[in-house]
Each structure stands twice: as structure tokens, then as C-alpha cells.
């Protein structure tokens, strides 16, 4: 028992009984799980299942109704510097007057004091982070002049610059080009090699087995959580997605028929 507790205390992320609501409608109910160090965890579920909400509630970006979030055994508020966050790309206005390097430098703001200003050291770290996502050549580019995938990579570089141990990424693969998808995967593997833990909200069921060590199936409530080959099964997916997954299969068959006719 004692040993189990020690393991729990070391876990990069432990969430207990987390519930959250938008307006009055609860979108996340009583979710509990604990993540192992050095794992890539995919959070999977249908639209409106509360995947992003879970991340935002865990990070304190939206108020939670109940629940406790521990990062390496301590409340999240004391451990902010250990946590990096990559929000959805659409969450900001990319017409903001700034360049890619400057956005990445924002990742260092948490390490600067209240009145400290980013200097040569911060810019060097930011530049290094940009290089890791293959964006070094775009450092001085105004951010509105980057493609969607490049913008996503800038956000990833900013999270790298935070130099965290636990990362939350909200749909980093959504609407990106092949080059960016590859860059993100390389980056995830690199983070894993460094013993860092990454939790990723993911949409594309086809790539889940290839990308993630563990899978968390979510549909308002936690459906299943564990190693990918145990959890990513037809049965559990069916349970998580309800009838919708069946519809997906049928429509695919339907288009097959259409294709043969054509």
C-alpha cells in the first residue's frame, strides 16, 4: 500500500473526481486517472465529449465544479513551471503584431520575474525551440504570414521553450499539413526520450495506435484508460462513441459502393 502511494505521488499527473460545466450543462463528470512518467497519452472521444474541457479544467483555465489535480504529487498551482500547454490554434488572433520568435519567447515569461524582460538568453532558448520544430528560418516572419501548420509548430515551440516536464496539447494535429504532422510526431518521440509526459487531445482514430502509448477514452465520463493495445479496441470504442462509430462504418461502405459504381 505504501509503495503504491509513493508511485502515485511520483506520477506526473493525477486527476481525482474532476467535473466541469459550461454554463449549466455539465460536460465532464467525475473523471479520475493517473498518468505514468514518460508516456504519450492520447485523449480520444466524440465531439462534445469534454476532451478540451478536461484539459482546461485541469489547468485551471475554466472553473471546475469539483475534483483535485496533482502534478508530481503536489497541487497544480505550486507546480505551474512543470506544466506546458499548447492550446488550439484557433484560440488566438494570428493577426497580432508579432513574429514567430517573439511568440516562442512568451514560453519563457513564466520563468521571468514580474518585471523581468526577455533578454539574449530567452531569445537563444526560443530560437533553439524553433529549430526543433523545423521553423528556424521563419523566426522573424510575422505570424499572420505563416501557414496553419507553421502556426501550430510555433505554438509547439513555445511549449518547448517553457521547458516543462508535463505537456498538455489540445488537438495539435487538427488541420495541419503532412510536414507538420511529421514534425509533431518527431517532437513527441523526442520529448518521450527525455522522460517527459505528454497528454494529447486527438481526433484521428486511424493514427492512434501508431502515436500513443496509452489511450484515454472519454465521453463526458471516463470510459476507459490504459495501454493502447488493451484499450483501443472495437468494443470500447463502440461504447465511447455510441451509435456514431457504426454510422461512420456504414457511410464508409456506402461510399465504397458509390466508388465501384463510378
Amino acid at each position: 500500500m505504501e509503495q503504491k502511494q509513493r508511485v502515485e505521488a511520483k506520477a506526473p499527473l493525477t486527476i481525482q473526481g474532476l467535473s466541469a460545466a459550461y454554463q449549466k450543462k455539465p460536460v465532464l463528470r467525475n473523471v479520475s486517472f493517473s498518468v505514468q512518467e514518460g508516456e504519450l497519452v492520447g485523449v480520444i472521444g466524440p465531439n462534445g465529449a469534454g476532451k478540451s474541457t478536461m484539459m482546461k479544467a485541469a489547468l485551471g483555465l475554466i472553473p471546475r465544479l469539483s475534483g483535485e489535480v496533482l502534478v508530481y504529487g503536489k497541487p497544480y498551482k505550486q507546480q505551474r513551471k512543470l506544466v506546458g500547454y499548447v492550446p488550439q490554434r484557433e484560440s488566438v488572433d494570428w493577426d497580432f503584431p508579432t513574429n514567430a520568435l517573439d511568440v516562442v519567447t512568451m514560453g519563457r515569461y513564466g520563468h521571468l520575474g514580474w518585471f523581468g524582460r526577455p533578454g539574449a538568453k530567452e531569445r537563444a532558448i526560443a530560437m533553439e525551440s524553433l529549430a526543433k520544430v523545423g521553423m528556424a528560418d521563419f523566426a522573424t516572419r510575422q505570424i499572420s504570414q505563416l501557414s496553419g501548420g507553421q502556426q501550430q509548430r510555433v505554438f509547439l515551440a513555445r511549449a518547448l521553450a517553457q521547458d516543462a516536464s508535463l505537456y498538455f496539447m489540445d488537438e495539435p494535429f487538427a488541420g495541419v499539413d503532412a510536414a507538420t504532422e511529421k514534425a509533431i510526431i518527431t517532437l513527441l518521440q523526442e520529448l518521450k526520450r527525455q522522460g517527459k509526459t505528454v497528454i494529447v487531445v486527438h481526433h484521428d482514430l486511424a493514427t492512434v495506435q501508431e502515436y500513443f502509448d496509452s489511450v484515454l477514452l472519454l465521453n463526458v465520463e471516463l470510459q476507459a484508460y490504459g495501454p493502447t493495445d488493451e484499450v483501443f479496441t472495437q468494443e470500447l470504442l463502440q461504447q465511447t462513441y455510441g451509435g456514431r462509430l457504426a454510422f461512420l462504418d456504414r457511410s464508409r461502405n456506402h461510399s465504397d459502393i458509390f466508388a465501384t459504381k463510378g
Partner: protein, 319 residues
């Protein structure tokens, strides 16, 4: 030019000149953040909401002191912001419509109170109606001093908290994630807006003061892609507008300073939209022309190549 020099030698003129310039400078700087946070019209709402606040402050105290007006306007501004928040949260009304309702409601109340004051038995109510369109020339020494101190304070806060204001303007979610007190910083920015609106009201008036927050910031955006440069430029445009407004109004007979300041800012805006190197209309045309020419040239080259190739195949066929 000579007359301009003598005007600037007049100490009273100097004070007004300096305070209008400082006012333009600080409003331009604050305005950048509210513009980037898509709250440009918030300045207008706060300005209109300030009127009943000022009237009630005057009715309660019976004095015309800028500091008391500032407190009254700030309280009214806070109530107005909460009002907008309440309307958007508890109804299907969107933010812009909610601002419109609150703005006009407060302004209506302000005008009613202003009329009550003017027909009432307050001893020194004269000049309160000047708040509608402002009257820089009517400012007295202590007003000018307060305005100057407040402007310098506003600039200092923006300088010290530049990093924080930048982050909450670009990505408030990320700012919250790294532990910034985002709600506090947002309220602080709002407070700075209220303060700059209230100190501006006396010079520019309730109706026009929002222009000092919006126009220089929008103009500056046409010249640069960097926030630091944009903030400095916007402050500079505001300062130039304030200075130009004061100078023109003092040389030409009986023209009001406030509206002239706003017109100067608008003129700078037109210059920016035309000649700004980033997104300016001329710059856009220039880039389009250059791209077009490049395309045409490559097409010509392509045509030539095709023709040469065609000639060669013909030759081959003939052989």
C-alpha cells in the same frame, strides 16, 4: 511662424500644449492594448458612462475637482462594465449590442442629470456642460498638473507591465496557464482606460475622447508588425495629434482644441491607410503590380520556350 512662437511663450498655452500632448501620448499607448483585445468600443462606452458619474460626483460634493470627477467616472465605468457583462451572460444579446444599450442608457442619464444641474441651485455649475465636447482652454493650472501626472503614471504602468499586457492581449489562456492573474490584469487595463478617458474628457469631451484611444492605435498598426514599435508609434501619433490640435486652435480664431485634436488623429489615420508599408493601400497595390509583372514575365518566357519547342518538333517532322 512668429505668432506660433509667441503663443508658445505664453505660459498658459504651454501648460495646455504639454498636457494635450501627454494626453495624446498616454491614450495612444493604452489604446493599442484595447484595440488588440478587440475592445476599441469599450473606450467609447466608458467615456459615455463617465458623464453620469461626473454629474453625480458634482451633485454630491458641489466641487469641480478633477480627482473627484475621476472617482465618479471610475465608479460609473465599473458599473457599466458589469452591466455589459451581466447583459451578455444572462441573455442572448451579443457584446456589441450590449455595449450599445449600456452606452446610450448611461449617456441619456448623464444628459438628464446635466440638465438638472444647470437648472438647479448649484453655485458653480457653469462649465460642466463643457464636458460634452471638451474645452482645453478652460483648463486651470491644477487640472493640467493632474492630467500630466496621471499621463506619466499611465505610461509608466504600461512600460513596467508591457510583457503581461502583451500576453493577455495575444493569448489570455496561455497567460492564465503560466500563472498570471489574468482577471486582475484585465481589470487593471480597464482601469487605465477609465483613467485616460476621464482625464481626456475635459480636453476632448465625452463624445470624442474614445477617438484618442482608437485612431492612433489603428493608424500605428499600418506601419509595423511589432507590438513594441506599434505602441511607441501610437503614442507618437496621439502626441502629435494633441500638439497639432492645440497649436491650430490657438492660431485660428475660436476653433475648439478637442475636435481639432481628433481631426488631426483622423488625418494621420488617412496617411497611414494610404502610405503604411504594412497593409497600406499603396503598398498593397505595389506588391500586386510586382507579382503581376513577375507572372507575366514568366509567362512570356514560357511562351518563348513553347514556341521554340514547337519549332523544333516541326523541324523534326520535316526531316
Amino acid at each position: 511662424m512668429q505668432s506660433l512662437w509667441t503663443l508658445l511663450n505664453d505660459p498658459n498655452m504651454q501648460w495646455i500644449f504639454i498636457s494635450c500632448t501627454l494626453l495624446g501620448l498616454s491614450s495612444g499607448i493604452i489604446g493599442c492594448f484595447s484595440y488588440l483585445r478587440k475592445q476599441s468600443l469599450m473606450g467609447d462606452t466608458l467615456a459615455h458612462a463617465a458623464l453620469p458619474g461626473i454629474c453625480i460626483a458634482f451633485m454630491l460634493t458641489g466641487t469641480k475637482s478633477l480627482l473627484i470627477f475621476l472617482i465618479g467616472a471610475a465608479i460609473a465605468g465599473v458599473i457599466a462594465t458589469f452591466g455589459i457583462g451581466f447583459v451578455t451572460r444572462h441573455s442572448r444579446i451579443k457584446h456589441d449590442a450590449a455595449m450599445g444599450i449600456v452606452l446610450s442608457g448611461f449617456f441619456g442619464l448623464g444628459i438628464v442629470l446635466l440638465t438638472v444641474i444647470q437648472h438647479g441651485s448649484y453655485g458653480n455649475q457653469a462649465g460642466l456642460d463643457k464636458f460634452l465636447f471638451g474645452q482645453a482652454a478652460a483648463m486651470i493650472g491644477s487640472d493640467v498638473l493632474t492630467m500630466s501626472i496621471v499621463s506619466v503614471l499611465l505610461i509608466a504602468v504600461c512600460f513596467l507591465l508591457f510583457k503581461q499586457f502583451k500576453l493577455i492581449s495575444f493569448d489570455p489562456g496561455f497567460a492564465r496557464g503560466i500563472g498570471y492573474p489574468v482577471a486582475f490584469l484585465e481589470q487593471l487595463l480597464m482601469l487605465l482606460m477609465v483613467v485616460s478617458v476621464v482625464v481626456g474628457i475635459q480636453a476632448v469631451g465625452v463624445v470624442l475622447v474614445a477617438a484618442l484611444l482608437i485612431t492612433p492605435a489603428v493608424s500605428a498598426r499600418y506601419w509595423t508588425h511589432r507590438l513594441g514599435a506599434m505602441v511607441i508609434l501610437s503614442g507618437l501619433f496621439g502626441a502629435i495629434s494633441g500638439a497639432a490640435g492645440t497649436l491650430i486652435s490657438s492660431t485660428a480664431a475660436n476653433l475648439p482644441t478637442g475636435p481639432l485634436t481628433v481631426l488631426a488623429a483622423t488625418a494621420l489615420f488617412f496617411l497611414s491607410i494610404l502610405f503604411g508599408p504594412q497593409k497600406g493601400l499603396l503598398a498593397k497595390q505595389f506588391i500586386r503590380l510586382r507579382v503581376k509583372r513577375k507572372l507575366e514575365q514568366s509567362q512570356i518566357r514560357g511562351n518563348v520556350k513553347a514556341r521554340v519547342a514547337a519549332a523544333e518538333t516541326e523541324k523534326g517532322a520535316a526531316l
